[in-house]
């Protein structure tokens, strides 16, 4: 049964929310500001970290802050976390906007009044810290093993309560719970060291933890670390690579996701500028970013500009059909606003960001894909990536892999980074699997960190492999 997470009332400046809304209106009148938006954010978080049976961190904290923006053809922004300064932050943002007059325009739309709590089955706030500690200890125990020289377990949960209001009269209250668990081991033999890890996460409650087969996953992590010790480095050069659903996730995040963030496009920083409607990928490739997927790590109901999050088809049958946008770029490109403006915290200005990005399933089974490969690699897992959107070059890392010869998986190979060119690699996708999974939580950096998820099916493409052989 679904249950609620309690919403705490905000009481900034010793006054009520109504008072702050009214005060913002007065200040806007005084400074002649047309548009402003204000976020009051309360974050409550708990974190536990254990290494080798020793607790490194156990924290439980809560804080409240304000981020205020005003628009006058350019943005003025101010933030504060001292309640005595909340009102001043609003006024500062307005004064900056007045100082800055520019000629940009933004999408305004109708005012929105809404209240959304992402529902969970079992709130982690109702699980006491002692139980979280015993979970971490249990996992630490399960990670022990021969040749395992280091073990780390990391648990975190947070509730972000946001009250957003703007000069249009929008008032939106959202409550987003987020939970994550990760564990890693380092294995050592004959002076060689390797590590392996697994992460879980979602906008979910304690049911995420209860659904994890800890015995299976801890054994898996140990087994893979030991396998890496025996593996040799992959070959180097451009070759056929099958990516597993997790690697497909980071691949599409780097190869496409960042380059379709409309702020990069508008600022002349994306190789995909001016290519809407153009065929940039193979037929049959469909790529989506959907922050409304229930329970995923990158999910959210409204973005940080008070726009409802929407599912966006980025590539449809190989054609680039949309960019991810915010109020400013939606207006600039004449696109429907799709709610992808996200800020790391109240003290950051929203930027255009991804939510949950994935490749939709095609119709190939994994076995059929494997049969296609005469000489190549099967690479798995996500070690992160990076992209130079203007040059159109990206890197993505795999956690381990196997050599594939004549459709057969043979010897294991180590973790390695791969590289490709955006405009080539999307056209080089040869087959798209039917087994899409979106369950690979992570944090994406763009000067600010936000939680995201990504995934897809097995795909077969060509990439430059940075192996040592």
């Amino acid at each position: 049964m679904a249950s609620h997470i309690k919403v705490f009332p905000f009481m900034p400046c010793g006054g009520s929310m109504e008072w702050l809304i009214k005060r913002a209106e007065e200040l806007a009148g005084k400074h002649g500001v047309d548009y402003y938006e204000i976020r009051l954010v309360k974050v409550t978080s708990r974190r536990l970290v254990m290494s080798n049976g020793q607790l490194r961190e156990l924290s439980s904290n809560s804080e409240l802050g304000i981020g205020a923006r005003a628009f006058n053809g350019t943005w003025g922004f101010s933030s504060a976390n001292d309640r005595e300064r909340f009102e001043k932050a609003i006024e500062t943002a307005m004064k900056i906007a007045k100082l800055s007059r520019g000629d940009a325009e933004i999408y305004l739309g109708e005012p929105v009044r809404d209240e959304v709590e992402l529902k969970v089955k079992k709130p982690f706030t109702e699980v006491d810290i002692e139980e979280k500690l015993s979970l971490v200890k249990e996992i630490d125990g399960l990670l022990r093993g021969e040749k395992i020289v280091s073990r780390t377990v990391n648990y975190g949960d947070s509730i972000v309560e946001t009250f957003y209001f703007n000069s249009l009269g929008s008032e939106i209250r959202t409550v987003v719970p987020r939970i994550r668990l990760g564990f890693s081991v380092t294995a050592k033999e004959n002076g060689e060291m390797q590590d392996f890890w697994k992460s879980f996460g979602g906008t979910l409650g304690w049911e995420l933890i209860e659904g994890i087969d800890l015995h299976y996953w801890t054994a898996h992590v140990k087994e893979k670390a030991l396998e890496l010790l025996r593996a040799s480095s992959p070959p180097s050069g451009e070759m056929d690579v099958i990516a597993d659903p997790e690697l497909t996730g980071v691949f599409i995040h780097e190869a496409l996701g960042h380059a379709v963030e409309a702020d990069s496009v508008k600022n002349g920083d994306s190789i995909l500028a001016g290519r809407l409607g153009e065929k940039i990928a193979v037929e049959g490739l469909n790529v989506v970013d959907d922050p409304t997927l229930p329970g995923k790590f990158g999910s959210y109901p409204y973005d940080d500009e008070g726009i409802k999050a929407k599912r966006v088809e980025i590539i449809k049958d190989g054609v680039l059909v949309s960019y991810l946008n915010d109020r400013e770029t939606a207006e600039y490109f004449g696109l429907e606003p799709n709610g992808h403006a996200r800020a790391e915290s109240y003290s950051h200005q929203p930027l255009v960001r991804m939510g949950n990005t994935y490749v939709e399933p095609g119709d190939w089974s994994f076995e059929e894909i494997l049969e296609e490969v005469k000489n190549g690699l099967y690479m798995l897992g996500d070690k992160g990536g990076e992209v130079d959107t203007a040059n159109g070059t990206f890197t993505f890392g795999a956690k381990l892999g196997y050599i594939v010869e004549n459709g057969e998986i043979t010897e294991p190979v180590r973790d390695v980074a791969l590289s490709g060119k955006i405009l080539d690699v999307l056209k080089n996708i040869m087959t798209i699997g039917n087994d899409t999974r979106v369950e690979f939580p992570g944090y994406c950096g763009k000067g600010q960190w936000v939680p995201v998820d990504d995934g897809g099916p097995h795909i077969l493409t060509r990439a430059l492999v940075g192996g040592l052989r």
């Binding site: 943005w75 003025g76 101010s78 590590d195 180097s236 990076e386």
Partner: protein
């Protein structure tokens, strides 16, 4: 000491615990220029108080934001930290005792502290104007930020320290399309810089973008090559976690104790250098800043340590406890210096790698890395042939064994390094 901290200390003195208060307050003004136009201006304020308490060998930590807490809020902060110390099981190894702190010179500039926001805003407009003047086919963007911050540590061993520092950050980014090319420049300072510094940033970014637009992929290459300081910074990032005391203690480093020979170079962490953005007089738990020889002529001599991990390892803190009021101390570098060597590399002819990216996909534990080349060039008879999109691949421990530092050092924010000659491989 600020008033709220004084009240907190009074409350703590009546508790039967060891304690440490870390506080911060400050403000920043920053400006974002896109397509040679000032698009976003912001002014941020932050402040907060972090409290660590030690009780029966266990540590508790909690924080509040703001510097105007009521009495009740302070009492609750103490209660939370004490409660966490009771249940947390995080080992407590004591707090540092007061040692003499020598003040580092040149890390505070009144001109940054007192600049009116309007004037900083004018400087940003001037920066945008300068971009419009200098641009050719490029699209230019960049940022300018000014900040002032104060941090203080007070503990039950008698430490009572406070320090104020200032910061100025400048970045420029140039993009060419058809063929695509990008160039960037980033630098930070502790004092207000003249407009010439902004000009330099724009010029460097433009030059690099023009080079990048001409760059093609190089045929696979294996052998001697030179890494510019930017590329060396990426290589060091892959290597460095092996020198972090917590990684050493928890068995995630190649090293378990100093003494191993890893090459023929010297690497230093130094928080006492005047005017550098990574400098401080004392670290996040009040240990004096110091110059730490991490690697001396190829031999690992020390690790980056805070009080806790130094105690676990039976060593001395190196004053590398970094901190915000929201966190317990964590280990990090202050200013990292690769000492210049004997190689004359300024007029080197051959393969030179300027910038690589993707460090976080590398494996610091095995040392394997494969980094994408953002820009490199081959020099033949004084002529530059740029390349990009190759990957620089190797193992960081093997690569460092071949490293021969050049003579002339360059500073990139808090990393100071000459060029370095290595045996490397490009695919």
């Amino acid at each position: 000491m600020i008033e709220a901290v004084e009240r907190l200390v009074k409350l703590l003195e009546s508790e039967n615990v060891e304690w440490e208060v870390f506080y911060q307050f400050g403000r920043s003004g920053s400006f974002r220029i896109e397509r040679e136009t000032l698009e976003r201006s912001q002014r941020k304020f932050y402040s907060g108080i972090g409290l660590r308490v030690g009780l029966k060998g266990r540590l508790g930590f909690s924080y509040i934001t703001g510097l105007h807490p009521g009495e009740e809020e302070l009492k609750k902060l103490v209660e939370r930290a004490v409660k966490l110390a009771k249940i947390s099981e995080v080992p407590f190894r004591g707090f540092p005792a007061g040692e003499r702190v020598n003040r580092v010179k040149g890390i505070y500039d009144r001109a940054i502290d007192e600049i009116p926001f309007e004037e900083a805003h004018r400087l940003a407009l001037e920066y945008a104007e300068l971009m419009r003047e200098k641009k050719g086919e490029e699209t230019l963007s960049g940022s300018l930020s000014l900040a002032v911050g104060t941090s203080g540590v007070v503990n039950s061993n008698g430490i009572e320290l406070e320090e104020r520092s200032t910061y100025m950050g400048v970045s420029a980014y140039a993009v060419l399309s058809e063929p695509p090319g990008t160039g960037s420049y980033r630098q930070s300072f502790t004092s207000l810089q003249p407009v010439e510094e902004l000009e330099r940033a724009v010029e460097k970014a433009i030059d690099e973008a023009r080079l990048s637009a001409r760059a093609r992929k190089l045929e696979p290459y294996s052998g001697e090559l030179v890494l510019e300081p930017n590329a060396l910074a990426s290589i060091m990032e892959v290597f460095l976690s092996n020198l972090y005391g917590d990684e050493v203690y928890h068995g995630r480093s190649r090293f378990s104790k100093p003494g191993e020979v890893i090459g023929d170079f010297s690497l230093v962490d130094d928080s006492t250098l005047p005017e550098l953005p990574g400098s401080y007089s004392f670290d996040g738990e009040g240990t004096p800043g110091q110059r730490t020889l991490l690697v001396e002529d190829g031999t690992v001599r020390n690790f980056l340590l805070d009080h806790t991990y130094a105690s676990f390892l039976g060593m001395e803190s190196t004053g590398n406890a970094l901190r915000t009021f929201r966190s317990v101390p964590y280990i990090g570098t202050s200013n990292l210096i690769l000492e210049p060597g004997e190689e004359s590399l300024e007029d080197y002819e051959g393969v030179i790698v300027r910038k690589v990216f993707g460090e976080h996909t590398a494996n610091p534990v095995s040392g394997d890395f494969s980094l994408t080349v953002e820009l490199g060039y081959v020099v033949e008879n004084g002529e530059l042939k740029p390349f990009k999109d190759n990957m620089l691949v190797g193992n960081v421990f093997e690569l460092l064994r071949t490293l021969k530092p050049g003579r002339k050092a360059e500073r990139i924010s808090s990393f100071v390094s000459p060029r370095g000659l290595v045996e490397g491989r490009l695919v």
